[in-house]
């Protein structure tokens, strides 16, 4: 079965090609069948391949499929080849399965949109690129997928391109991630010039031989981290993700929550040898993760727009993953990636239903009382929020977050500061996630419901809600019996970390339980019991200013505007008449002059033409004869 691996990215790609070629000739039904069907088939193949991988593990616990040599020049000989190991299995399952659910959802969500076929075209291309990214056996192919997902992200953020604001948001996302991408490609250059290969496994082997803290390894680790930070919207390149919510909601769910933004996590986990050899950079990863998760937690807490709140929450949760990677809890990071993909996709899809039902209303303060109007959404959204808030014992998010928090202290790289940040982040998560639940589904109804979801939008919600609950039971902490099939499975691909004994784990878990329940309780108090008092308090000058500051993402946009955009614009304005300008203008006027002269020579006088031809002949003969 494993030789079918190539089909997994090929099927969505085929869907993309088919949709592109037949664009206008397809009915909506046909486009939906191709768009969702190709990803569905890919999911089936992925399940079959993964099942065969788990039941009869190949030698060395990895499977390598070489399709063809991409090109061969100057010693660089990348192959179009796929590398399947335990970590990749997790990623392809999540991408194809969650991707399929979101495609199914989109067939109903987008049904009245004029760009229906175009939407599925980009979505299929995205899924194909993302699969190439995680399956690539060399960093260059990975980079192809990396750029492919970035491009699709840009297309899909700016999907409703008739509104200039959406296009601006797409451009912002593209340009800011480009900063990270540039760092990444420079990192690849560095690795290639030093190790003469970009194939991941030989490269990692070579890096593993290098002495710890070797300059090239540290530099490469920093550069790859730059790429990961840009793609995963971590500090300081996080400003694009909240604006990326300008795209359709399924896009936010698939690209900007479940898959693409975790590409940075994948990259770091895939090159973990590099980060093992560069402990300073790994510490930086952990610090970035912790600071980001706190920063984004506060920002999510202050948002009015439901999707922006969820976007900041995504930034925050990816911060947790970075923290896990930074303290060498590679498998914990992947675990949280999986559970996060389930519950965050669920939350976005639920938010999409709410926004649709209220005729494109994004402001949570204008929602309310939807508990009875949209029961399925209410229950699934609440389960998602509970998983996000790490509601103890019954949710997937609890297990993954607990693991990260205990690793952040218990690992050899852990520290109390990181742990404290993670715990504070958990409190914030509890508050902001249930703030959404209470504001949107409880209280009095403020906007009438105009559209109700049908089965294609509700099924994915239910499936994801189930996964948000049971997805965590594959890795139980020591004090709950230590049943860890997920860790055992991942241990074939990633080094495991000892997060401490069971007593430590139990104490840790108790703290997390208390904290997350406190967060939920605070949210209950603030937005259920004392909603009026909260509103009065929030209207006071000091809290209001703070809230505005947080809502604006701590003023990073303002800062970047004044640090980079305005100086560059000013310089461009000043340098308008620089030395290069006359040259450029001179070339232009030279062309105009030549045009005038040549067009004057076309005077229709045949005899003149002949005379000029004769003169030319004289010159040519002179050159040939008198040479």
């Amino acid at each position: 079965m494993m030789h079918l691996l190539w089909l997994i990215p090929a099927l969505p790609l085929a869907g993309f090609v088919l949709l592109t070629l037949l664009n206008r000739r397809l009915s909506r039904t046909a486009a939906a069948v191709i768009g969702a069907g190709s990803v569905g088939l890919a999911a089936l193949v992925a399940i079959a391949v993964s099942a065969s991988f788990m039941l009869s593990p190949p030698a060395g616990h990895h499977f390598h499929q070489v399709l063809w040599t991409w090109f061969d020049t100057g010693g660089l000989r990348p192959q179009v080849a796929f590398y399947l190991d335990a970590m990749t299995v997790v990623f392809i399952l999540v991408i194809t399965f969650v991707g399929f659910l979101i495609h199914l959802y989109s067939t109903e969500f987008m049904e009245h949109d004029e760009g229906f076929t175009r939407f599925f075209m980009y979505m299929n291309l995205f899924v194909a690129s993302m699969l190439v990214l995680v399956l690539a056996d060399n960093l260059l192919l990975l980079y192809l997928g990396w750029e492919g997902v970035g491009m699709c992200s840009y297309f899909l953020i700016a999907f409703w391109q008739k509104d200039a604001q959406n296009v601006y948001c797409g451009r912002k996302a593209f340009i800011i991630t480009r900063i990270g991408d540039t760092a990444l490609i420079v990192g690849l250059f560095l690795l290639f010039t030093h190790y003469h290969t970009l194939a991941i496994q030989p490269l990692m082997h070579a890096v593993g031989q290098a002495p710890a803290g070797a300059a090239v390894v540290v530099a490469a680790a920093w550069l790859l981290l730059g790429g990961a930070v840009g793609k995963s919207a971590q500090l300081p390149l996080q400003t694009w993700l909240p604006d990326a919510m300008a795209g359709p909601t399924p896009v936010s769910a698939l690209i900007h929550a479940a898959t693409m933004v975790t590409a940075g996590v994948y990259l770091i986990a895939r090159t973990h040898v590099l980060y093992t050899a560069a402990p300073d950079v790994r510490l930086a990863v952990a610090i970035i993760g912790t600071v980001t998760l706190l920063y984004a937690g506060f920002s999510a807490f202050a948002q009015k727009d439901i999707k922006r709140s969820l976007a900041y929450s995504t930034v925050s949760q990816i911060g947790y993953m970075f923290l896990a990677l930074g303290v060498a809890g590679w498998d914990a990071g992947i675990f949280h990636f999986m559970t996060h993909a389930f519950f965050k996709a669920l939350l976005f899809l639920g938010a999409g239903v709410v926004i649709e039902a209220l005729a494109d209303e994004h402001d949570i303060f204008k929602m309310g009382g939807l508990r009875r109007e949209l029961p399925v959404v209410f229950w699934t959204f609440t389960i998602g929020a509970a998983s996000l808030a790490a509601l103890p014992l019954v949710t997937a998010g609890y297990y993954s977050k607990d693991l990260i928090i205990s690793t952040s202290l218990g690992s050899v790289d852990g520290s109390a500061w990181l742990w404290a940040g993670a715990v504070a982040g958990a409190l914030l998560t509890g508050i902001y996630s249930f703030r959404l639940v209470f504001l949107v589904f409880f209280g009095e109804q403020k906007t009438p419901v105009t559209r109700r979801p049908r089965w294609r939008m509700q099924t994915p919600l239910v499936v994801l809600a189930v996964l948000s609950v049971i997805g965590g039971f594959v890795w139980l902490p020591e004090w709950m019996g230590g049943w860890k099939p997920f860790e055992q499975f991942l241990s074939t691909a990633l080094p495991t970390t000892d997060a401490g004994g069971w007593a430590f784990g139990l104490g840790e878990a108790t703290i997390l339980e208390v904290v997350s329940l406190t967060g939920i309780a605070v949210a209950y108090l603030l937005w259920m019991r004392r909603r009026a008092a909260t509103a009065v308090f929030a209207a006071r000058p000091a809290p209001d200013a703070l809230e505005r500051y947080w809502r604006a993402g701590w003023g990073f946009d303002w800062l970047y505007e004044h640090m980079f955009v305005i100086p560059v614009e000013w310089f461009a304005h000043v340098a308008r008449n620089d030395l290069v300008e006359p040259v450029v203008k001179g070339i232009a006027s030279l062309n105009v002059l030549a045009w005038r002269g040549l067009s004057a020579s076309q005077n229709g006088l045949l005899r003149l033409y002949i005379a000029v031809a004769g003169a030319g002949l004289a010159v040519i003969i002179a050159v040939v004869v008198l040479r």
Partner: protein, 187 residues
């Protein structure tokens, strides 16, 4: 033979200059005939009697006949010959003098005697229908194309095309008189 070559060459040059300078068209064409005859003699002195005969028959005969027909058709006498101002010659003559100087310089870099002897019709024909047979076929096609092209270009725009053009221009006024097309045509 050498003397004959130089005499014939001189005649050819003088006659050709006359062709270019005469303002009367018929005079120019008569000088062209003389020039072609002179070149035929040159060919003969070069040991190419077959080509010399063809020069007389085809060039001085057939092609000149075409010119004469064209002059008759065009009624050239009605045309006042355009006067050439003397200054109009200066530029071309300088240009051409340069060109000629270059050509002569290039030609005189090396000299060889000719092989001598005569290459008669037999050898030429053997070559024509031996290695060059494809070229002969191409030349025949070229002539056919020229025949058809000349017929097409020179033909008056009359007949069906002209009729259609007229119908097109006068269509609106005459429209009521045009009988409706029979239904069967569509089928």
């Amino acid at each position: 033979m050498t003397t004959l070559f130089y005499i014939a060459g001189a005649v050819a040059i003088i006659a050709t200059i006359m062709v270019v300078t005469r303002s009367q068209l018929v005079h120019a064409l008569l000088y062209l005939v003389i020039s072609l005859f002179a070149v035929a003699v040159v060919f003969f002195t070069l040991g190419a009697p077959f080509v010399a005969a063809l020069e007389v028959i085809v060039y001085a005969g057939a092609i000149m006949m075409l010119f004469v027909f064209a002059v008759m058709l065009l009624d050239v006498r009605a045309q006042k010959p355009p006067r050439m101002p003397r200054s109009a010659w200066a530029g071309p003559v300088i240009l051409i003098a340069v060109l000629l100087a270059e050509l002569v310089y290039g030609i005189t870099l090396h000299d060889h005697a000719l092989a001598g002897g005569s290459v008669g019709p037999t050898q030429v024909s053997a070559a024509l229908f031996g290695p060059y047979v494809l070229g002969v076929e191409l030349a025949s096609m070229l002539l056919l194309a020229a025949l058809i092209g000349a017929r097409h270009v020179a033909a008056e725009p009359t007949g069906a095309a002209a009729g259609e053009a007229d119908a097109g221009t006068t269509g609106p006024e005459e429209a009521p008189e045009v009988p409706p097309a029979p239904e069967g045509v569509q089928g």
